[in-house]
Amino acid sequence: MNRLRAATAVAATIFAVAVPFFLKPFGIFLISMWAVLTIAAIGLNLTLGYAGQVSLAQGAFVGIGAYTVALLTQAGYPFALAFVAAGGLCFAIGGMLGYPALRVQHHYLAFVTLAFTTLVFLVLRNEEWLTNGIYGINGIIRPTFFGWSTRSALNFYFFSLGTLAVLSMATWWMLRSPWGRAFVALRENPIRALSLGVDTRRYTLMAFAIGSSLGGLSGGLYAPLVQFIDPGSFALGMSFNLLLMVIVGGSGYFFGPFVGALVAVLLPEWTRITQGYYLIIYATLVMVMMAFCPSGILGLIERVLKAAFRSGGTAPALRAEGIGP
């Protein structure tokens, strides 16, 4: 199974690099969107899949990141600085929101973060002097690095894909470290983690803040990708979507967000023939999946593979790491 996993990863990477050469500009836009949203979903997976906290604020963090990059680059600051600022700002805001909010957990946290998302939307809409209100911000510039312009759709896709690769490798490394093990311990058995001397509150807060900063970095790419942002894009709908991505892909699996984001980006296009009904189909699929396989697509694949290989023996704790034996 290990070899199968490695082969799949290599094949997927080759596919991700090769596929844009066979696509029309709109197709390239879609897979760029996939790369950008996957970053936000990886962040949410840290909060939800590893630390076990339901957050409905990820869309708001994408929004904060997008506005930060849009406003700073338009004020003449270099993109790299704005991008780092987006991540740093969301890390700080995530920490400030999480510090008091994580006193209460689970469904209460869902409601606090829901309130936060709505508040961010109201601020983006009402503070016209800063955000231009409902009219949004137009003509966001795509960056140029050492003479390599990301203005073309293809270049921007590779820029997004590269950022995704770097950030997901950093996350992978973090999850393999003692820190990441502590995150998993939080979800699997918080009482045991606490009694083993893991400062659960601090680790939950760190997971939340790091997850938020990934949301901000995702927003930092979202703004130059779509080149037009308005408050409505970052309302509750986006947070719900990101949550669904993580769940549909398989929360707690490292590659869950990659799969979930792919489904969420491509499904509307594939079901375009059904006119406006695609959201109904999507919602139905999610409900069916929750009823039969709440561990998402990767959970389903793992179940099927396990039945086929009869290898058995993979303990639930290993599944929780999501990175396999």
Binding site: H107, Y108, V112, T118, P190, M290, A291, P294
Partner: protein, 291 residues
């Protein structure tokens, strides 16, 4: 002063509707740990049932009864059997996700199969202005208050003064013990889903003449119900009532006196304050937590 009374009465009227929605929400939570993220859409949908029945030629009162009956079957029975039952064993989170998907499903269905335009909805009573202490009060507000009060009173009587109601309370407080004492727990849980369906259908009849019937109505109403339930206390029916009324009045007063742009922000700030300072809600009991 006159305008204050006006704002107060209309705030009380919306607050009473929020209270009805929030009460149903807390009932589901108490008996089956269901957090219904589609509760707002549950209020939006019966209005379309009623409009469809009226389009088919039924007079308003008949259509209203048909709407309530359809709500009981679809939003009560079917919701319980098809969505909630298969998922309860997985715990709270998958059901939360599923009700989020359900809210999307109901919203899009109403848009695609009925209309994306706001539909006028008949009022309970003709709009006549009543003058009281210099304030102008609409009979509609008074009718809303009357119906909501009657509904809550009926629910209170049912829960506290009948055998059935006490069995339902026992189910909410300690299902295992209730089962041992001979309470048919599963049926009691089902009854709370049916009661929730009746409550949201009544809320739909009350609120649709004010907001018009629109597929997006559920978004604000659902959030209002969560906030009301949390402000008042998740595990108390009277907490939800208090929360709803407080929310309706504060929303109206803050929009008039503080900032109409940030209407909606004020209740959220109260929500955050309540969750942080008194997470069990104003009237709630502390629930046991593992960590």
């Amino acid at each position: 002063m006159a305008s204050f009374i006006q704002l107060l009465i209309s705030g009380l009227a919306t607050g009473a509707i929020y209270a009805l929605i929030a009460v149903g929400f807390t009932l589901l939570w108490q008996t089956s740990q269901t957090i219904n993220f589609a509760q707002g859409e549950f209020v939006m949908l019966p209005a379309f049932f009623i409009l469809a029945a009226m389009n088919a030629g039924a007079p308003f009162w008949v259509a209203a009864l048909i709407g309530i009956a359809l709500a009981v079957v679809i939003l009560g029975l079917l919701f319980k059997v098809v969505i909630v039952d298969p998922m309860l064993r997985y715990g709270v989170l998958p059901l939360v996700i599923s009700t989020i998907a359900l809210s999307l499903f109901l919203k899009e269905s109403a848009k695609d199969f009925y209309s994306s335009q706001a539909q006028p909805f008949p009022a309970l009573v003709p709009a006549i202005d009543v003058h009281f202490l210099g304030a102008v009060i609409s009979t509609q507000s008074l009718a809303v208050l009357g119906v909501a009060f009657a509904t809550v009173a009926a629910l209170h009587l049912l829960l506290n003064n009948t055998r059935l109601g006490r069995a339902m309370q026992a189910t909410a407080q300690n299902p295992a013990l209730a089962l041992i004492l001979g309470v048919p727990v599963r049926r009691m849980v089902l009854y709370t889903f049916l009661i929730n369906a009746v409550l949201v259908a009544i809320a739909a009849i009350l609120i649709s003449p004010i907001y018009l019937a629109k597929f997006t109505n559920g978004e604000t109403l659902g959030t209002a119900a969560f906030i009301a339930a949390i402000i008042g206390g998740f595990n108390q029916v009277r907490g939800a009532i208090l929360g709803g009324v407080v929310l309706g009045v504060l929303d109206n007063l803050s929009a008039a006196y503080l900032s109409s742009q940030y209407r909606g922000a004020f209740p959220l700030l109260i929500l955050i304050a309540v969750i942080l300072l008194r997470p069990q809600g104003l009237l709630g009991r502390v629930e046991e937590r593992t960590v």
